[in-house]
């Protein structure tokens, strides 16, 4: 078990500006999964009219173009999020929240805006149609691993965005797209991460469909800031049969119920 804190503050960042796609659910999933393990947890809805609270774990959700710009500006002015990340706090950014924790993201007129800079990520407006649909991605070989050192299982979710995100050298792609668009930058990647900050285009919400990822984020938050890179506090297992049934059903639906030869070939070729 971990030597980290047994008390967690989880903050949903600006739900009044960034809550379009049910991403507030990520905060609920994290808080419940911590509480079910006997961890004292406080879930804060951190609205944009107040200073950002000091939390151990932040979630930043999806939103529309105008509120996204306002959220990034306000977060930069506030400063607490950047400060807490430097102290080891964990961040999950989803969709617009993923884009705005990067370095640069566009507004509705494709003018670049300064992001919070927690990830090395440049987002521009895509030229093609919006990416809308089920998204399945296999975690990259060097992506975060579980407390037991295993690779995370396939990630499933729903994407709905018009942005194209390029991951720079100071961050790493989270996963490789199997179905859907993901980052859309031509390299087949989805999401990005560095240290304890992780972003993705997956919602659904992402942590309800991918509880192993939820437990990695909790494990990070329960690990002391000075621990070696990759350390994830172990958590006792939960009865996840409903989440696992949902995952299986979604993955089967996107696979069309069977694996075609293209997928088999792709999986063999992309295997390490």
């Amino acid at each position: 078990m971990s030597a980290g804190p047994r008390r967690l503050v989880i903050a949903v960042v600006y739900p009044d500006l960034l809550g379009t796609y049910g991403d507030g659910g990520n905060g609920v999933v994290l808080a419940r999964r911590a509480a079910w393990r006997g961890i004292e947890v406080e879930l804060v809805q951190a609205t944009s009219d107040r200073p950002v609270p000091r939390a151990d774990l932040y979630t930043v959700g999806g939103g529309e173009d105008g509120p996204q710009v306002r959220a990034a500006t306000t977060l930069l002015e506030d400063g607490t999020l950047v400060e807490r990340v430097a102290e080891g706090a964990v961040v999950l950014g989803v969709c617009a929240g993923f884009q705005l924790i990067g370095t640069t993201f566009p507004d509705n007129l494709d003018r670049p805006h300064e992001g919070v800079g927690l990830l090395d990520l440049t987002t521009t407006k895509g030229t093609g149609p919006r990416a809308v649909g089920e998204l399945v991605a296999t975690p990259a070989p060097d992506a975060p691993r579980t407390a037991g050192g295993d690779r995370l299982p396939r990630l499933t979710g729903f994407e709905n965005h018009g942005g194209v995100s390029a991951v720079g050298p100071r961050s790493r792609p989270l996963a490789r797209v199997e179905r859907g668009v993901g980052n859309g930058s031509g390299d087949g990647t989805e999401g990005a991460w560095s240290h304890r900050v992780l972003g993705t285009y997956l919602h659904g919400p992402v942590l309800a469909r991918n509880t192993a990822l939820a437990d990695v984020l909790l494990g990070w938050a329960l690990t002391p800031a000075g621990a070696p890179e990759g350390t994830v506090a172990a958590l006792e297992p939960l009865d996840d049969h409903e989440e696992l049934a949902l995952r299986a059903e979604r993955l089967e639906a996107t696979d069309g119920g069977r694996t075609g030869w293209r997928d088999m070939a792709r999986r063999v070729l992309t295997r390490r």
């Binding site: 379009t20 306002r70 729903f158």
Partner: protein, 440 residues
């Protein structure tokens, strides 16, 4: 049946193309019904529009048109408005009352009732602009605007900008019935932003339970502050709740001059009193222009509506009354939870059914915006094609639940652990609700 003389242009000779299009709508609808493929309204309308893309405009010409749109309450308000405008014998008003709310459905309804001088059309939020251009409406009713089917329609702000552009093209309403009067919900800042572009607006304080999509000011990007009294204003610019012509206060409609009218309706819930108020305010000028009555006339007629396409109706299944409720998006579910609190027993079991087909939206993330925590203490059964998504949501909401395949089986499951005669509440989203009605 009252038969009124039609305006001259409606009986004028039509182009061969329009005649062919009109004939094909009827033919396809007959064929569709004969094949047992439903009422066929959409199929016929689609073929008609294919033959003559101008068919919506042509079939609307010469009638007084009222358009009703918004995220929630469209079908109910359309029914209430059509009822308020109808003579007791029901003559003279045509409406797309099956919920087919895109142009194909409008065309099918209009072509099917060539003699009706009045039309009340429910309009999908995304089609308001086109319908305004093609039908030259006398009245446009704007109910509310919040997140719904984000994968299909658009984000709320994109939609509200399109509404605003369309409403800005209208001409001012005149006492004789010319131009367009917009009847708009002043309690929804998104609606207010769009409607403010129209030259003639009658503002109604109809209430709005859902504020989460209206925090960012649509005018300047500032922050909309809501006060307990129901007012709202931007913290940066002068965008604020407009002065209203009428306010819904409990079960009364209070006009600006202080006159109070009872909203005596048979449909349950505060949001239906709001829908009724919008319908009555929209009906009054049409009735007055035609010399057929006024606001009182409209209000008196609304009590005749007891259900809307099965919604709010109660069926009996194995000794249990089962109330059928439809909710499609977070604002709609929240309003239905209010209705359960207001009109039911807090221990009554709930059967929740969710699908994710085209008409529902493919993305089920919205389930996490719905405050299912409010159902804690009620036995719940999750069903529908996305019952697993719903089950996971209920688990994290702390609601005890079972997951059962098939809506009628789910009702039976709830009935098995409910004392005989105990009420069961069924809540389904769009196609899940239709599935249950088909099964029963």
């Amino acid at each position: 049946m009252t038969v009124r003389a039609l305006p001259a242009d409606a009986t004028a000779p039509r182009s061969a193309r329009t005649s062919l299009a009109t004939a094909s709508v009827s033919a396809v609808n007959r064929l569709s019904r004969a094949l047992g493929r439903g009422s066929g309204t959409v199929a016929g309308g689609r073929v008609g529009l294919l033959v003559d893309p101008g068919l919506l405009a042509t079939s609307a010409t010469g009638r007084n048109i009222a358009l009703v749109t918004g995220t929630n309450g469209k079908t109910t308000t359309t029914r209430l408005l059509a009822t308020a405008l109808s003579d007791p014998d029901g003559a003279g008003v045509v409406s797309n009352d099956t919920g087919a709310n895109m142009p194909a459905g409008h065309v099918a309804a209009l072509v099917g009732a060539p003699a009706a001088p009045l039309a009340v059309l429910e309009v999908d939020e995304g089609y308001l602009g086109r319908c305004i251009v093609e039908t030259a409406p006398q009245v446009v009713v704007l109910l509310n605007l919040s997140r719904d089917q984000l994968d299909r329609i658009a984000e709320v702000r994109m939609l509200v900008d399109r509404w605003r552009t369309a409403l800005g093209t209208l001409t001012a309403a005149s006492a004789g019935g010319g131009g367009t009067l917009v009847v708009a919900n002043a309690d929804d800042p998104m609606v207010a932003w769009a409607a403010a572009a129209a030259p003639s607006v009658r503002w109604v304080g109809a209430g709005q339970v859902w504020h989460d999509d209206a925090v960012g000011c649509p005018a300047c990007g500032g922050r909309i502050e809501f006060t307990a009294g129901g007012a709202w204003a931007c913290d940066r610019c002068d965008f604020a709740r407009p002065d209203v012509a009428a306010d819904v206060v409990g079960d009364e409609l209070v006009l600006a001059d202080g006159t109070r009218h009872r909203l005596a309706i048979a449909l349950p819930g505060q949001f239906n009193r709001a829908n009724a108020a919008m319908a009555a305010i929209a009906a009054a000028p049409i009735l007055e222009a035609r010399g057929q009555g006024d606001l009182e006339t409209a209000l008196d007629r609304l009590g005749a509506v007891t259900e809307v396409a099965g919604r709010f109706s109660t069926i009996t299944r194995s000794d249990h009354p089962v109330r059928l409720l439809l909710a499609k998006n977070p604002a709609g579910w929240t309003a239905i939870f209010d209705l359960l609190d207001e009109t039911g027993d807090p221990a009554d079991p709930v059967v929740l059914s969710v699908n994710a087909r085209t008409a529902d939206g493919f993305d089920t993330s919205w389930l996490w915006d719905v405050p299912f925590e409010r159902l804690v203490g009620r036995p719940a059964v999750a069903t529908g094609e996305r019952r697993l998504d719903l089950g996971v949501r209920l688990r994290y909401a702390g609601v005890d639940h079972a997951v059962v395949d098939g809506p009628s089986a789910a009702i039976d499951h709830a009935a098995a652990s409910t004392p005989s005669g105990g009420r069961i509440e069924f809540l389904g989203n769009y196609t899940a609700f239709a599935d249950l009605r088909r099964e029963l």
